[in-house]
Structures are given as structure tokens and as C-alpha cells.
């Protein structure tokens, strides 16, 4: 692979990141570092995927990332939405994960009890 090809991949993926297949509007990212996993992030991730599948939400991407250092708030889930501030949730249990999908992802109302940060 050459430099030019690398640039092309970069540009192409940049567009895709939010609009994978041109459809996604919201991205839900679960922190899956050691602390996150220890606090139950796998279950959280499974629940999010399950909820999204159950509701047949085609415009939602559920993804995973490393952790951010909020050890005492794990599992941590961040919700990225184009044109809106990023909302970070802490202590996301299975129940809260369902709530995030129902209230935030579907209806656009952040679950205020578990918000630990809002990033612009």
C-alpha cells in the first residue's frame, strides 16, 4: 500500500464513521478496558446490542473503545451524535443501558441520572 492509498482509506472511513452506509445518526460506545469489563461492560454492551436489535434501530452503531480513566464510574458509555454534545454515562448497568436506548437513543432525552459529562 502506498501513501496515497492510505489517505484515501482515511477520507473514506472518516465519512463512514458517523454515517455508516449513509444511515447512522447516533453512535453508542462502550468503554471496554480492564476496569470496564471488570465492572460488567460486557453485559452492558450485550444489552445495548440486544435493545438496538430488538427495536430494529438501523441508524444506530454500537461500538467499543478503550477506557478513559473514569474507573470509579465504570461501565462507561458515551453517546455520540452529529451536531449534538457528546453525552457520557457512568455506572451503566443493564437496566440503565436499556433506559439509554429507550430514552436517549430513541427519544433524544438523555438519562440525566447517569450523565457524568457532556462534551461539546
Amino acid at each position: 500500500m502506498k501513501l496515497e492509498e492510505l489517505r484515501k482509506i482515511r477520507e473514506k472511513t472518516e465519512k463512514e464513521m458517523f454515517l455508516r452506509d449513509g444511515k447512522a445518526r447516533i453512535k453508542v460506545v462502550v468503554g471496554m478496558g480492564t476496569s470496564g469489563i471488570a465492572a460488567g461492560a460486557r453485559e452492558t454492551l450485550k444489552t445495548l446490542l440486544d435493545e438496538v436489535a430488538k427495536r430494529e434501530l438501523k441508524d444506530v452503531i454500537v461500538s467499543q473503545a478503550g477506557e478513559r480513566g473514569l474507573s470509579s464510574y465504570e461501565p462507561v458509555v458515551s453517546v455520540f451524535e452529529e451536531g449534538k454534545p457528546t453525552v457520557v454515562y457512568g455506572n451503566v448497568s443493564v437496566d440503565i443501558a436499556r433506559k439509554i436506548v429507550a430514552e436517549h437513543v430513541v427519544n433524544g432525552n438523555p438519562v440525566s441520572d447517569n450523565v457524568i459529562e457532556v462534551n461539546s
Binding site: M1, K2, L3, L6, R7, I9, R10, T13, E14, E16, M17, V29, G31, G33, T34, I37, S63, Q64, A65, G66, E67, R68, G69, L70, S71, S72, Y73, V76, S78, F80, K84, P85, V87, V88, G90, D95, R98, K99, A102, E103, N107, N109, P110, S112, D113, N114, V115, I116, E117, V118, S120
Partner: protein, 533 residues
């Protein structure tokens, strides 16, 4: 699980408390119960929403309507009209809250305060096992810049030197100078090693980089290899870091697939490859010469310095050993320039530092802030203060080879120079906080136990000294000692500092001296108290 249709936030701060927020809250809860709305409406006490001098405030979600100057008498009206009937009662002042301003203040915890993220900028956003996403987020753009603009190795070293980047593993040696020395050293083969052994108790910063953004490390090591003229690199990862090893391995495979690692990188003619070596759990292998011995397949005994690894490193070839956090700074220094790096931190110590905050603290975790941030801010603002409303007693900076600081030094700035002036060290960036109930002799005893266990036994001062110190510390703790034992501990630690072969034995003095100097009364009390009883 119940889902409330409405949340009412009751911001509690100095202003609203004076205006009688608790009275309003009680009325509100009563009214909600009366109307049977308790399953639909939830009242939440929150932090300030940043609206000043407007009396008691109520914010209603999801509408984001807020009422100002709410008096107990208004509550029934709000509940009847707004919560029950769904329209805003006339005659009561209200506005719509800006979502960002509102949310920001809701549950703002210490750890999420404004930070300066350089090495951990992407770790929580991107999928580490998806190289495309990494690329889209700007990964490997430093490498692209170097090869695209045909930047020479000398120019890279110059940029790193000018940036003033210093080793983040604890010693703070200038990275550019290390690279230059390795480049200038004579040898047919050179190596770059990433020290990811992270054995310092209380430190987990490297783990977050390895788990969250392993590609950043690969990029940095390719750049380092190119700069010093190495074609081979090793990542020495602590064996316990299963997830780090797994993610790093996967990232390396992907990078090879994308021609970002391996032979003929991006068809530029430059070849560089990486290999992972799992550590076996010895603290001493965090020392670069012991790490090199271990990499060579031998027992991890430290070497006598000089010669230094930059000339006689791995298999006696010139080798640069850099810490994970140090390397993670490199890509951004290349893309944004050395001047940008100087906009953060102090003059002698530019850039950021990752701190791990733990112990008796409200919100333990990790932060990345500018070098020179006061310790008080780290503990009380980011860490949220001491847990359980207790008082601060001491902080241990930099893990087992760290320094005990008393309250007197809470305002010290966390950069290498300021700490040195105060006889302290930055070390790995671990900040272990102890409350008023913690016993310093106890703490020192466990540190010495750790040292006695980890001493490799190669040189007598350390092998014998650590065990002698442990015995003395035990005596003091158990009240079987004399006051003189405290002084013996000091002189023994100093003797070890003067005569030990490697940093392990040499660094015992740091915790011993700082504990005894700053908390001598406690040691004396431990000895005498137990003798009386």
C-alpha cells in the same frame, strides 16, 4: 425497571439553599404524592445549573423548562398545571434551558473536569481493534506526514529535542537526547524498546494507552525506529496485562496488513517490525537494563551502568528504551510541532502528565492534565476530595519508590523541577491518597515488604538492606523497637542509596526518608506507645 416520563431537577447550591430549596423540594414531593404522580415523575437533587441569584430553581425534563424564584406556594400550581395537565402555569417565570449548559452542570464529577488530553485523546472514542476507525480519527497521520514530506531522521530528532519531551517513566530523561545518542552510536543493528512493564504499584496509565489506542504506540515506535535507525522494536508488556497484549497483537497484525509495519512500509523502502515480549512479573524488569536482560532470555538482573543502553543495549547493540506514555506523545509532536508542545506544562517540563488517583479518595481514576498542575487540584478537584468526609493526611506520589507528602506540600506543582525542589519525585504519576486514619508506619512497612520481595539479590546492599529495613519497620510498627531504630532505618536507606547497583536499591531511600521526615511523630509514637502498653 421503571421509566419516569418526567424528571424534575432541584439544583442545590449556596444560592438556592439560602433561598429555601429544601422547603420547596419537600413541598414538591408532597404535591407529587398527592396527585399520585410518584411513578411518573422523579425528583432529583442536582448540582448547580449555573443560574445565579434567581432563588430556587426547578428544571423539568424532558421539556428542559426551568422555573426561577420558585416559592413554596408556587409548587402546587406547577404540579397541577405542568406535571398533571402538561402546560406551563401562567404568572410563573420560566425559560428553556440550553441543553449543554444544563447537562454540563448536572452530574459534573471531579474526574470529568476539563482535562488536557494528548496521549489519551482517542482512547475512549475509537474501537482499538478497527484500524479503519483509527485512521479516520487521525491515527498514523504523523507517519504520513514524515513520509509525505520526506522529513529526515535528523529533523525528527531535532523536533523531539526542541519539544522538550522528557521520559514519563519516572526519571525524566530528555527523549530527543536519548534518540540522538542511539542514532549516533556505532552499531550494525539498533533497537527501540517500549517499556510497558508498568510495575509501579498504583499505576495503570500505560494500560489505558495499550488497551485504548495501541495503534498510537505502533506509530510512535515506527517513527522512533526511523529516527534512530532501528529496524526492529520490542514492546515489553507486563504479563498480567492480558487485554493489553491481546489488543497490541491485533493492532500489530492490522498495521502489517495496511503496510504500516513490517517490510517496506508504505512502499517507502523503510522496514521496521515489532514484537511483543511478555513480562513475567518482576518489578525490577521495569528498569531498562534488567528489562533488556529479560528480553535476551536471561534472568532479569540489572546491569552495571555505564555503558548505557544507548550504546550497549539489547545484545550489546545501541538501544533506546522509552516508556509507553513518552512514546504516545510522539505522533502529536510530529503533526503539531514542538512549539505546540510548549504551550502546555512548564518551561522545563512541557506537555501533559497522566496521573492515576487512588486510595481514600471520592472518585478514584485517571486524569491527564498539564505538567505543573498543583497536587491540591488533582486530589480535591479531580479526585473529588477525601472519601467519607475524612481529613487528608498524606499522599504517596509515584508508587513504591515514591514520596510521602504531608499536608504542608499540598500546593506543590506537579512537574519534575517543582517536585525536586521539595525533595519529591514525580515517578510514574500514581497519587495514592491517605486519610487521617491511615498509619504511615503501616504504609511504610508494606512498601518495604514489597521491596524485600522484589529485590533481585544480585548486590548485597539491596539484598540484605531491604530485609533489615523490613525487620526494623516491623519492630517499630509492633512497638518492639527503640527510637534509635527510626534513625537506623534512615542511615541504612542512605547506605543502600550510595552502594546499590540499580535504581531499586537506590530508591528505597525515597519512601523511607520522606515518611520519617514528614511523619516522625507517628513513628516515635508507635515505638513509645507500644512500649507503655
Amino acid at each position: 425497571m421503571s421509566i419516569y416520563r418526567t424528571h424534575i431537577l432541584v439544583p442545590v447550591d449556596e444560592g438556592t439553599v439560602q433561598a429555601g430549596v429544601f422547603e420547596v423540594k419537600r413541598k414538591l414531593e408532597q404535591a407529587i404524592l398527592q396527585k399520585g404522580l410518584e411513578k411518573e415523575v422523579k425528583v432529583v437533587e442536582s448540582g448547580t445549573v449555573g443560574i445565579q441569584d434567581k432563588g430556587v430553581i426547578l428544571v423539568v425534563y424532558p421539556e428542559r423548562i426551568y422555573y426561577t424564584n420558585v416559592r413554596p406556594g408556587d409548587v402546587t400550581l406547577i404540579v397541577d398545571e405542568h406535571l398533571l395537565k402538561g402546560h406551563i402555569p401562567p404568572g410563573i417565570k420560566h425559560r428553556t434551558l440550553d441543553i449543554q449548559a444544563g447537562m454540563k452542570s448536572l452530574h459534573n464529577t471531579g474526574l470529568t473536569r476539563q482535562q488536557k488530553r494528548v496521549v489519551l485523546d482517542k482512547s475512549w472514542k475509537i474501537a482499538p481493534d478497527n484500524i479503519r476507525e483509527v485512521l479516520a480519527a487521525g491515527g498514523y497521520s504523523a507517519l504520513e506526514k514524515i513520509f509525505g514530506e520526506k522529513i529526515t531522521p535528523e529533523a525528527i530528532i531535532d523536533t523531539v529535542k526542541k519539544s522538550g519531551l522528557r521520559g514519563r517513566g519516572g526519571a525524566g530523561f530528555p527523549t530527543g537526547i536519548k534518540w540522538e545518542a542511539t542514532r549516533n552510536a556505532v552499531g550494525d543493528q539498533k533497537y527501540i524498546i517500549c517499556n510497558a512493564d508498568e510495575g509501579e504499584p498504583g499505576t495503570f496509565k500505560d494500560r489505558l494507552i495499550l488497551e485504548g489506542d495501541p495503534h498510537k504506540l505502533i506509530e510512535a515506535m515506527v517513527i522512533a525506529g526511523y529516527a534512530i535507525g532501528a529496524t526492529k522494536g520490542f514492546v515489553y508488556i507486563r504479563g498480567e496485562y492480558g487485554l493489553s497484549i491481546e489488543r497490541m497483537q491485533k493492532a500489530m497484525d492490522q498495521a502489517r496488513e495496511f503496510s504500516l509495519l513490517g517490510a517496506n512500509i508504505l512502499e517507502t523502502g523503510f522496514s521496521f517490525d515489532l514484537e511483543i515480549k511478555k513480562g513475567a512479573g518482576a518489578y525490577i524488569c521495569g528498569d531498562e537494563t534488567a528489562l533488556i536482560e529479560s528480553l535476551e532470555g536471561k534472568r532479569g538482573n540489572p546491569r552495571v551502568k555505564p555503558p548505557y543502553p544507548v550504546t550497549n543495549g539489547l545484545w550489546q547493540k545501541p538501544t533506546a528504551v522509552n516508556n509507553v506514555e513518552t512514546l504516545a506523545n510522539i505522533p502529536q509532536i510530529i503533526t503539531q510541532g514542538s512549539e505546540w508542545f510548549h504551550t502546555m506544562g512548564t518551561e522545563m517540563c512541557p506537555g501533559t502528565k497522566v496521573f492515576t488517583i487512588l486510595g481514600h479518595i471520592e472518585s478514584p481514576g485517571l486524569i491527564e492534565v498539564e505538567m505543573g498542575t498543583p497536587l491540591r487540584e488533582i486530589i480535591f478537584s479531580y479526585g473529588g476530595g477525601i472519601s467519607g468526609g475524612k481529613k487528608f493526611k498524606a499522599a504517596l506520589l509515584g508508587g513504591a519508590s515514591g514520596v510521602f507528602l504531608s499536608e504542608k506540600l499540598l500546593d506543590v506543582h506537579m512537574d519534575l523541577e517543582s517536585l525536586k525542589e521539595n525533595k519529591a519525585v514525580l515517578g510514574s504519576g500514581a497519587v495514592l491518597v491517605m486519610n487521617e486514619e491511615a498509619s504511615i508506619p503501616d504504609m511504610l512497612f508494606s512498601i518495604l515488604k514489597f521491596y524485600a520481595h522484589e529485590s533481585c539479590g544480585q548486590c548485597a546492599p539491596c539484598r540484605v538492606g531491604t530485609h533489615q529495613l523490613l525487620q526494623l519497620a516491623w519492630n517499630v510498627r509492633e512497638g518492639k523497637g527503640q527510637v534509635e531504630d527510626i534513625d537506623t532505618m534512615m542511615s541504612l536507606a542512605e547506605l543502600m542509596w550510595r552502594s546499590s547497583l540499580c535504581p531499586l536499591g537506590q530508591s528505597v531511600i525515597t519512601p523511607v526518608k520522606s515518611a520519617i521526615e514528614n511523619f516522625r511523630d507517628e513513628f516515635v509514637l508507635a515505638v513509645s506507645h507500644n512500649q507503655v502498653s
